[in-house]
């Protein structure tokens, strides 16, 4: 990467930070990801649109196979180019990510866009100390001496509340516990003050008490840095506790989009209703959980019409046609012919 490019980037980064705080950091428009195999073609993400505002946390919820991870990998351009066909547009601070060159993406990733994955052990290199790995990110994107980078890395470890960061700096990933490793991942992701952090199931592999600590840490750091976060998760509890807005994905499509408050107060899509009902809750004991029957459709040949119809108890004939994502009430979108759900309650 040339030096001139680097300074340019720094300038544009600064201009964004001066911008209106409510400006969106990322705009995804009609994103489609198609995997072409020899035997079958799978549309993993089918026309997904959303935007994330500065300092906001957007949750993408869905079960396995709903396309939530593929969406994030497509934004980061981390999907294999020979098999994934990506269309639509991803606008990040005026730059079209889907049209960026490879080197352009490399200068953005880890710098202004960062990502954390589920399993910290597989995302850390076991043969380097954690300090060296954080240094690598800083030296790649910032013009700093090695000494300055080391100081910055230790400061980052301190920021993510790792006790005795100077000692930990010299340790290897296997010396750290799972929660500590995930903190190192967060430190690494935030080392260059990214504007957007994508966290793909960041706490799924952690125990609940550690999960609570890590989520709290992410919230606190977000308040300090104003980083926008996309949190990908299957855990509705995590969504309720740490996000502002939410999109619910089912079979590659967004089926509901609203604020977190709205989603848990009164969902507007039958899938979300079933999902909330199937959660065993701590405050009540019911004999049977509300279970959604059946399984997700085969994405190689999805049903025509609404993708949830075969499992939906509220299905009508009209469901054979694909519903659009419509605004049910201000800021609350649902992809269902029967929305608003108020009408379904006697």
């Amino acid at each position: 990467m040339s030096t001139s490019q680097h300074t340019l980037e720094n300038q544009s980064a600064r201009s964004v930070r001066a911008d209106d705080a409510r400006a969106s950091v990322l705009d995804v428009n009609n994103l489609r990801v198609v995997f072409e195999g020899d035997m079958r073609t799978v549309t993993a993400v089918d026309g997904v649109s959303f935007s994330v505002g500065k300092g906001r946390t957007l949750a993408i919820v869905g079960e396995s196979g709903s396309g939530k991870s593929v969406t994030s990998l497509a934004i980061m351009r981390l999907l294999p180019e020979h098999s994934a066909r990506i269309s639509g547009s991803v606008n990040f601070d005026g730059r079209q990510l889907l049209e960026e060159t490879k080197s352009g993406m490399r200068s953005l990733r880890g710098n202004r866009l960062a990502m954390i994955f589920q399993e910290p052990m597989t995302s850390l290199n076991p043969s380097y100390t954690v300090g060296e790995q954080i240094n690598e990110v800083i030296l790649r994107h910032r013009q700093m001496s090695k000494k300055e980078a080391t100081e910055r890395a230790i400061a980052m470890l301190k920021l993510v509340r790792i006790p005795s960061p100077e000692t930990r700096y010299h340790q290897y990933p296997h010396n750290l516990s799972g929660g500590m490793r995930q903190r190192v991942m967060i430190a690494m992701a935030l080392a260059c003050d990214p504007e957007l952090l994508i966290a793909d199931e960041p706490t799924t592999a952690l125990d609940v008490t550690i999960q609570a600590q890590v989520l709290e840490l992410m919230r606190e750091l977000q308040q300090e840095t104003g980083t926008a976060i996309i949190l990908i998760t299957h855990d509705l509890g995590v969504v309720a506790e740490s996000c502002d807005d939410v999109i619910v994905m089912y079979a590659g499509q967004v089926v509901e989009q609203c604020s977190v408050e709205e989603l848990f107060t009164f969902p507007q899509h039958p899938y979300t209703v079933g999902l909330l009902g199937s959660l065993p809750r701590l405050d009540e004991k019911r004999e049977q959980l509300v279970a959604i029957t059946g399984t997700v459709p085969d994405m190689a040949n999805p049903p025509s019409g609404c993708r949830f119809q075969s499992r939906c108890p509220f299905r009508i004939e009209k469901c054979a046609e694909m519903p659009e994502l419509i605004e049910v009430s201000a800021g609350h979108f649902s992809r269902c012919w029967r929305a608003p759900m108020q009408d379904l309650v006697p």
Partner: protein, 368 residues
């Protein structure tokens, strides 16, 4: 299958297990970890006992000890009144018919080269439960019992989804007509909607067959749903044991409290509870567990005496046991902490409508 006797199906007395983690070059043990220490519990017919705790607390080791898959290094195990602690391998195999085990990953516990029918017929054959000629019929019955179609018997595991595979595993466990099933994180790998299906199935089977479950899980929501009694473990010790209602309504041990308050609740942000009793830091290394009460390095209510106090369970007449010596002096739980998550009554109606409509005359429901 249900008997009116009061013999516990599984009983553990002072059960413990140490694993050697380091040896000298000559093979002499240098360091060992006490994975499970001094656990005493009983599993009665038809009840569900949940064992909860974080990773590394010894819950899975305890599960394996209870069906004597591993030999205890201290204490005794009784299955159906018979002491199986020192039973020979062959004799133990016969006993295992009565206690079956289900693991987390259904794909890893099914042989990819065997059809579902072969898999389920194997225990029938090994224990000679059903004559060879009738095995196919019994397999079909078992498949129906777990909500699969008998036509699917000739398929291979890869042709099924995760939830269906777990149903196959359950069918295999049921094949030997056990009295108890140990479910080790049996629903943790499944998506919530599928998890609910499997939980409903387990409850239904328990009612029909009078099974007892040992339900090992880290997910307290699931445990609350399924368990009659709960044992909470921390670093190899049971720290609290009691009925599920008591544990969830008035948890006594600081660890139980912290565990309950750490669970993210799927309620609107405006209804979130205040979080008080959080644990600090990470789990200490089980190789050198802290002296005294093992929780004292992380406990929000720690006091100097905790470093020397023993973790002996204080058992009350009603069976509620708790290892915190000072639990009576702990601050009462905040009202905000105990507060139930109020749910929108309109939402409840919507759930009811969803449920009622889902029970409409069966459509062609595929899989599950």
């Amino acid at each position: 299958m249900t008997q009116t006797t009061t013999t516990p199906i599984i009983e553990a007395r002072g059960l413990g297990r140490k694993f050697v983690v380091k040896r000298t070059v000559f093979g002499r043990p240098l360091a060992s970890v006490g994975a499970v220490e001094d656990v005493t519990l009983r599993l009665m017919p038809g009840e569900t006992l949940a064992i909860v705790g974080e990773s590394g607390c010894g819950k899975s080791t305890l599960g394996r000890l209870l069906m004597r898959l591993i030999r205890p290094s201290a204490g005794e195990v009784f299955i159906d009144g018979q002491n199986v602690t020192n039973l020979s391998h062959a004799a133990m195999r016969k006993q295992r018919r009565h206690v079956q085990l289900i693991f987390q990953d259904p794909y890893a516990s099914l042989n990819p080269r065997m059809t579902i029918a072969q898999t389920i017929a194997e225990p029938l054959m090994l224990h000679n439960i059903v004559p060879a000629g009738q095995r196919a019929r019994r397999v079909a019955e078992l498949l129906e019992m777990v909500g699969l179609r008998p036509e699917q018997a000739s398929r291979y595991p890869h042709e099924f989804s995760g939830g269906q595979r777990q149903r196959v595993v359950i069918a295999r466990a049921l094949a030997s007509e056990p009295k108890a099933i140990i479910c080790d994180e049996a629903v943790s790998a499944l998506d919530v909607s599928i998890q609910a299906q499997v939980l409903n199935l387990l409850k239904d089977l328990q009612k029909r067959l009078g099974l007892a479950f040992v339900f090992i899980s880290h997910d307290l929501g699931v445990v609350k749903h399924i368990a009659d009694r709960v044992a909470v473990m921390y670093l190899g010790n049971v720290v609290e044991m009691g009925t599920a209602d008591e544990i969830f309504a008035v948890p006594r041990h600081p660890y139980t409290r912290a565990l309950l308050s750490a669970i993210p609740v799927a309620a609107p942000p405006s209804h979130q509870r205040a979080k008080a009793a959080r644990l600090r830091g990470d789990l200490p290394s089980p190789l050198s567990p802290p002296e005294g009460c093992r929780l004292h390095t992380r406990c929000p209510y720690v006091r100097p005496e905790c470093k020397t106090v023993s973790m002996k369970l204080d058992v009350e007449p009603n069976g509620h046991a708790n290892a915190c010596a000072f639990w009576r002096e702990l601050p009462a739980q905040d009202a905000a902490e105990v507060a139930r998550e109020p749910r929108n009554p309109k939402l409840e109606e919507l759930f009811a409508a969803f449920e009622a409509m889902a029970k409409r005359p069966a459509q062609t429901v595929t899989g599950g």
